[in-house]
Point group: C2
């Protein structure tokens, strides 16, 4: 078996998710850095690995290429069952997946760098308009997410019980992004509490953007 390689960019929140999962599972990997803001993910050599030119991409020890951060996390959870990143029961798994997808489908894609760039180039959006766009879609989902987490007895120290799951991975990566756009986190006490609990764990700390070798 060969080495595990993660194609990553320090500031990419989807790369952050993959790094947390790899750390939680105890998988050591060699990072390959792609500077998204300089367009390095569009290099032909990287497009040969991942034709979408997105990060993260995980190259597993057998050479298999895996794209899409949630698919990567579920794969890691299937091949390395402990510590579990999804509950064992179908209802719990559905809840964790839904919480994850609230962030991974309803917030992250519409606030992604390529979209913010398109707002500037197509519609002349300035910094204020881009920031307002970003905050709008966070608030649209973080409101219901906070309400859900606050009202559901399945919420514990983390989003689902007292150990971190895929939902916490998504939550932490989104909160990190929020910081760059000055999102007011005051209305979200449960999200803040869970974020703080997760950021006490070495696997989350080591995966944080500012702790990556390619951080600026």
């Amino acid at each position: 078996m060969g080495e595990v390689v993660l194609h990553t960019y320090f500031r990419s929140s989807t790369s952050f998710r993959a790094r947390i999962a790899l750390n939680l599972k105890g998988v050591s990997y060699r990072p390959e850095f792609h500077h998204l803001r300089l367009g390095k993910h569009r290099d032909p050599a990287y497009l040969a690995v991942n034709p979408q030119g997105l990060v993260p991409t995980l190259v597993w020890s057998d050479g298999m290429v895996l794209a899409q951060s949630l698919a990567i996390i579920e794969f890691l959870d299937e091949v390395i069952p402990e510590p579990a990143l999804l509950p064992r029961d179908p209802a719990g798994r559905a809840r964790v997946r839904a919480l994850s997808q609230m962030i991974a489908c309803d917030i992250h894609p519409v606030n992604n760098l390529r979209i913010l760039n398109a707002l500037r180039s197509r519609f002349g959006a300035d910094d204020a308009a881009v920031t307002d766009w970003f905050r709008t879609w966070v608030a649209e989902t973080f409101g219901p997410l906070e309400q859900h987490l606050a009202n559901d007895p399945q919420t514990g120290r983390f989003c689902h019980g007292d150990t971190p799951t895929m939902a916490d991975i998504c939550l932490v990566a989104q909160v990190a992004n929020n910081g760059r756009f000055g999102v007011d986190m005051e209305p979200y006490p449960v999200i803040r509490r869970i974020h703080a609990a997760a950021m006490e764990l070495p696997a989350f700390i080591a995966a944080a953007p500012q702790n990556q070798p390619d951080a600026e």
Copy 2:
């Protein structure tokens, strides 16, 4: 056990995904219709069911409320294993999930009704600009998706082998959306072939937007 209820809107492609999965699994359900264009998903009664006010929401026979279409599909696949909507092997599952997420994360959210509306209201985008926006993000992902499907020997009659999976569900629902924005499908022969194969199946036909009771 009570009845299964699906909160749905005929034109919502995420509702389309849930309808296909329910049909493939042979689950009969009572649809509750929410007219998104008239803002009916913002009714307080519906927000009490799903605080995000999005469709689909599945209320399972035990009363459990499930949000997010991919989480719903994975839940159905776990509680009703046959016919399988994901392969058995972790590598295959990762591939099907990644193909699904290419559509569910990278295309659908940025072309969703709320985003297109925001482009109009915030930036004065006209019909032509909205259509171009929609087509841009389809092309950005359908190009690599076509390439992946064409080059990977795991592609069969469907995205992964010869039976429909979650990836085909996402593909078919996206192709239906594309039609409303006049996306040129000529560059995507494999996607067109898979779409045609899926739309021969009764489960897909019965789930199609135009075959819903709330279709206009």
